[in-house]
């Protein structure tokens, strides 16, 4: 599940997690300057404020930290290099893959939700933050799969979902 593989990545990259929060302004700038045409600047700004809020009040578990790292890496590297960080993208894809596989397993077995043992690594905050990660990953890569996962995500951040729906509407 989500919490196992990120361990080593977190060890390597996420030690100063909270200290990185200032970089959100940079992330925000990058997103605004590269947004899809129909996405308004204040929407992204609001979304990022909500993201910061989520992060600040988060109870940090390993998965959560990994998501923070992922979110920041995507944005920051995009601003500084104009290219997505391959490792961050890879990690995001891993998260997405696991989520989709879990979801399809649940569908296969005709379950609406995951078993408690499967859910232990997914809490509402993680879902919400994951939805931000997915949205940003889409901005960086224009890979539609990130939006698809966001649409399928349970407990996604409401604003991220709304923005996702608008983007899908203009595809």
């Amino acid at each position: 599940m989500l919490s196992t593989e990120p361990d080593t990545i977190c060890d390597r990259f996420v030690s100063p997690t909270l200290a990185k929060f200032s970089s959100y302004n940079e992330v925000l700038s990058g997103l605004i300057s590269n947004r899809p045409q129909s996405v308004e600047e204040n929407e992204i700004r609001h979304l990022n404020d909500r993201g910061k809020e989520l992060l600040r009040k988060g109870e940090f578990i390993i998965t959560y930290e990994a998501l923070v790292w992922c979110l920041e890496s995507l944005g920051v590297s995009y601003i500084t290099t104009k290219k997505p960080d391959p490792l961050a993208l890879h990690f995001t894809e891993q998260l997405m893959h696991r989520y989709e596989v879990d979801k399809q397993l649940a569908e296969t077995y005709k379950r609406d939700t995951f078993k408690p043992s499967e859910r232990q690594c997914y809490n509402k905050k993680e879902f919400e933050l994951f939805s931000l990660v997915l949205l940003m990953a889409y901005f960086v890569t224009e890979d539609i799969r990130f939006l698809n996962t966001l649409l399928n995500l349970q407990f996604s951040l409401e604003e991220a979902r709304a923005l996702c729906l608008r983007i899908v509407g203009i595809l």
Binding site: Q104, D143, I144, R145, N148, N152, V168, L171
Partner: protein
């Protein structure tokens, strides 16, 4: 002409019917055909038996993946407008020269029509021990797969090589619902025939083809959201099989002897794997195939 060494794993799926049409177009038929019924609990005696041509088709006339899960009463009461959409899709495929079969006839009936003898078996999946045993004893060397889930290592470890036609151009588009994903992401569609391995759509490739997205005219009222599900089913159940069958037909036309087929490994680092599209995206993708008549 019998295709040497080919075991055809027929099911009720429309893809089976389209493959039969493709082979018939070329005056060919499989060396051996096994009709597979997927049942959670197989009969007490799963041993295969040869079915004579006079055997009644027990399958309801509308075969097909989606239809198999629709209650029978709903099928009987199928609205004529849904049928009209399906027929438009089938006609569009026919007009483009793709192999088209009578999808409203059962696979068994089509086998009978083409004078193809077949055996039958009931198994929960192709990974079932009984199926593995059957395959292991089969003298054929290549099996044409239609459906039955992901093949696990034991069945892949027999002497038989399984071939599958995937409705996407590999390596670009792997995974699920790839007819639709290809249309959205690459603005074109494709199909690929490969030997199956334990990866998802990652086997060595025998043939790939790409196509323009067909634009299928339907009465304007059928473009409404009320028919979104029907449009999607029409593509998945009636158009997708035609493209897959076209690849099989092209492959067989080029080289009718499977023993002489030459496969090329895929670039496994390339391409993307796609998952089930959310309904919003799914409908958006499906709409690329249709236009409403004024």
């Amino acid at each position: 002409m019998k295709i040497p060494g080919l075991l055809f794993l027929a099911t009720s799926h429309n893809v089976s019917k389209a493959y039969l049409s493709a082979m018939h177009d070329l005056g060919m038929q499989p060396e051996r055909t096994l009709y597979i019924e997927f049942k959670p609990e197989p009969d007490n005696n799963p041993v295969t038996k040869v079915i004579s041509f006079g055997n009644k088709a027990i399958q309801f006339a509308r075969g097909g993946f989606h239809h198999s899960v629709i209650p029978k009463s709903d099928i009987v009461d199928r609205k004529s407008d849904e049928m009209e959409i399906f027929q438009r899709v089938i006609s569009a495929a026919f007009q483009r020269g793709l192999p088209v079969e009578d999808y409203f006839t059962s696979t068994r009936e089509i086998l009978k029509k083409y004078n193809i003898p077949y055996e039958s078996i009931q198994v929960p999946s192709l990974n079932d021990e009984r199926f593995i045993e059957f395959v292991s004893k089969s003298p054929q060397t290549v099996a044409l797969y239609v459906d039955g889930g992901i093949l696990r290592r034991p069945i892949l470890s027999t002497h038989i090589k399984f071939i599958h036609v995937h409705p996407g151009h590999v390596p670009d588009v792997r995974g699920t619902s790839c007819l639709l994903w290809g249309a959205l992401v690459h603005n074109r569609i494709g199909a690929s025939c490969f030997f199956m391995n334990d990866g998802i759509d990652k086997g060595d490739v025998l043939m790939t083809k790409e196509y323009e997205i067909p634009v299928i005219s339907i009465p304007h009222r059928y473009m409404s959201d009320a028919y979104a599900e029907t449009r999607y089913i029409a593509l998945q159940d009636y158009l997708d099989p035609c493209y897959r069958a076209d690849v099989i037909r092209t492959l067989l036309k080029k080289e009718p002897d499977p023993a002489k087929w030459c496969a090329q490994p895929q670039d496994l680092s390339a391409g993307r794997t796609y998952y089930h599209p959310h309904k919003i995206l799914r409908d958006k993708m499906a709409n690329r195939f249709f236009k409403g008549e004024q």
